[in-house]
Symmetry: C2
Subunit: 225 residues, 2 copies
Amino acid sequence: MPELSNSPFAPGPLNQLRAKRDRGRYDASEIFAILDCATVAHVGFVHDGRPMVIPMIFGRDEDRLYLHGVRKGRITSTAAGAPVCITVTLVDGIVVARSMFDASMNYRSVVIHGHAREIEDQAHRLHALRRISEQVLPGRWDEVREPFEKEVKGTSVLEVVIEAASAKVRSGPPMDDRVPGDERVWAGVIPMLTSFGQPVVDAEVPTDVALPPSVVALTKEAGLK
Amino acid sequence: MPELSNSPFAPGPLNQLRAKRDRGRYDASEIFAILDCATVAHVGFVHDGRPMVIPMIFGRDEDRLYLHGVRKGRITSTAAGAPVCITVTLVDGIVVARSMFDASMNYRSVVIHGHAREIEDQAHRLHALRRISEQVLPGRWDEVREPFEKEVKGTSVLEVVIEAASAKVRSGPPMDDRVPGDERVWAGVIPMLTSFGQPVVDAEVPTDVALPPSVVALTKEAGLK
């Protein structure tokens, strides 16, 4: 296993990009900004010698990420104590080039390495669950009742302190190796956007109950979350 | 390493859901439909005992997936011959429940297990690259020049035959454990959509060059790709 560098955000054996190095970013604030825009992370761990990659929602508090799952689920029982890789990807566009070789994607991605540790302390568990909730729908936690004790007990909550992190970013137009004959080939970028649709109220909610502020705020945000 | 079942789509030790089993799908056509809607996959492999998860574009041909990367990149050099996990996630909405415990996401995800194998045959490599291209922007391959031999040679192309696969799908309204006092709490779903913006033409394309059919077709599609 490669040794980790002193700062999780300095390029080291684990997080330094090997290919297309100009796309690498090792700045904590840029890495946090990408994480904070994402709704879902892809969490990798090793299970019986095989890689497993599972989509999960997550939360962040400074240099640590929080995950949760059903107690005794595959992730929470095998990932706890083990090395994990948490990857977040925001796809911003399709880069249409003059040749297939130069075709690309615009994106912002972050790869985090760390170890998952199960949180036992009740207050810490609640704090982590709140951060996960805030990441998905800011403000919602305070609009609903406190979790029941049995609900929190039935949930595994994992903490992953960031040990190594890097971001990879591509933006802008195609970077073509121009060749004779491609002068009239169309090239450019097709932007990709993630947006929210009109909220669909549950059939059992009385018709005079207004949309809560959390939902209003999220769906009023323009474009990408 | 768990043994694989005879059919990659039958529930087995590797792909059977352990938690929330009612969300599991083991039907090839449903799994393929989810894969075919996605632009990016998260590819997991084991590197020096650690899990690595990297976002990659991909292509599919029946029960095999194709990946590509820079020759001698981290993925193509460590994943070739090794077990990989390829996960695709389409996020469809935020499920806003009457309590945090019942909050959820609507999504369609697929987890594929297999081994990555480097393709050496030139015609097979071109076929795989075409499938990857078609997955991202259908029709584009035929609009541009054939790849140069040196371009294909500088690219590693991997084939992953699906050995085990499962999909996990959640849709619909919140499934709340109703408690006294929550009668007037708003609940519902905030749909999430991925869409394409207006194409941005590269500055060097002459103004009388029209949008190619591939770009017109993709951006005319409504909503989720």
